[in-house]
Symmetry: none
DNA sequence: TAACGAACCTGATTA
DNA sequence: GTAATCAGGTTCGTT
């Protein structure tokens, strides 16, 4: 089911694995039969009640929006379309625009479908990553994790994957590796003290430590 | 501090007085170094709780809106911007539009700032006037008075002005003169019966007669 | 016609 | 004190 597999010699590098039977077999993989990508985190957004409510929009913090999704003059007026792939290879398109009245960047059209499909609630965290290929080749990846979870997406939580060596309290997709520069974090799945540093945030991973706020709002920068 | 002074020979006519030290020295006066204006009342709106509440809008009675602030087809769609000057020469801009859902004309953007700045409460009255110059030259003026007061604006109430010969229970800016065609109203600042007719409305000005409703809702037409 | 979505707005909070 | 940000709203056109 994984469309990308870690390169055994370098956990930063991910390579597509072909699986034509996957109904969500992504355009990315159809178009690019080979090649390597660097998967890197962009930012996270802990969802507010408004982000998952009736407003049908996700506010993207300005510093992240301007860094990763710059709008040129033309697209700034009418907004643009951003395409993402989720952990199943499913494609998601969102209208992305800037609201001058509130000076904020938002995902609008398509966002509510994502919220519904992923059953997102306030406090859940949406994770934005990108795969960078050769030159300016760049593909966006969207993921989420439940409030209080440090799992990067629902796949590991809801569908434990025997292929994945990371267990609960570790990070799938090599986040830890990339953040820790290949050095594996010292976490154990047994024992009373389970602590790790993820993306610059100290995280407790004991037996449900009442979801401390610093965990839910942990961000990459 | 007065930006306009009555013409000694005709109280209907007001002429700008220059005062470069006034921090609110208005564009009107900067642009028009000379000239005369006819100041005339348009209408008043006694403020409802909604007008000063969280709705951040002022409903303008339809007959007044259509008479004084007509919206053409183009501006009817997106609304327009109305500029006013207050008694201090400060400029106020309000978005003005028609809400089809409620069939009403409203001031929206900018209105809440005015309410806050003037400390307006329900029952207070907002006064709309215009200065008419040559041809179609027209400038809007916005003012307010406290609930139960017949003072035309806070200047006389809060900042007694030695230059102004009108005392409490009289009208500044020559309203009385213009309405009574130069004939001074028979009001006295002493005595048990203080009554005057202002813009066609009989007003009691006794010692705080429990703010009768007809006073608070007195209107020019 | 009811629901959705795009645009607009504002106040609390923060830097 | 001032300015920027953004969560939480509203309206209104579209479907």
């Amino acid at each position: 089911m994984n469309q990308l597999a870690q390169n055994p010699s370098n956990p930063w590098i991910w390579q597509p694995t072909m699986n034509a039977h996957n109904p969500h077999y992504s355009q990315m993989h159809r178009q690019q039969q080979e090649g390597t990508y660097i998967k890197e985190p962009m930012f996270e957004k802990p969802l507010t009640p408004s982000d998952v409510g009736k407003l049908n929009r996700l506010v993207i913090p300005k510093q992240h929006a301007e860094k990763y999704f710059p709008l040129d003059g033309e697209s700034g007026e009418k907004g643009s379309l951003l395409s993402f792939e989720d952990e199943l290879g499913k494609q998601w398109e969102f209208r992305y625009s800037y609201w001058t009245s509130s000076q904020s960047y938002v995902l609008t059209k398509g966002w509510s479908k994502f919220v519904k499909d992923k059953k997102l609630d306030a406090g859940d965290v949406v994770i934005f990553q990108r795969f960078r290929g050769h030159g300016t080749d760049e593909r966006f990846y969207i993921d989420s994790r439940r409030r209080g979870s440090i799992e990067a997406n629902s796949r590991v939580v809801a569908r434990p994957d025997a292929e994945n060596p990371w267990s609960s309290c570790a990070s799938p997709h090599g986040y830890m590796n990339s953040v820790n520069s290949g050095q594996q974090a010292s976490s154990s799945t047994r024992g009373s003290s389970r602590r790790l540093r993820l993306f610059g945030v100290n995280l407790e991973c004991g037996p449900d430590p009442a979801e401390p706020e610093h965990l839910a709002s942990g961000s990459w920068n």
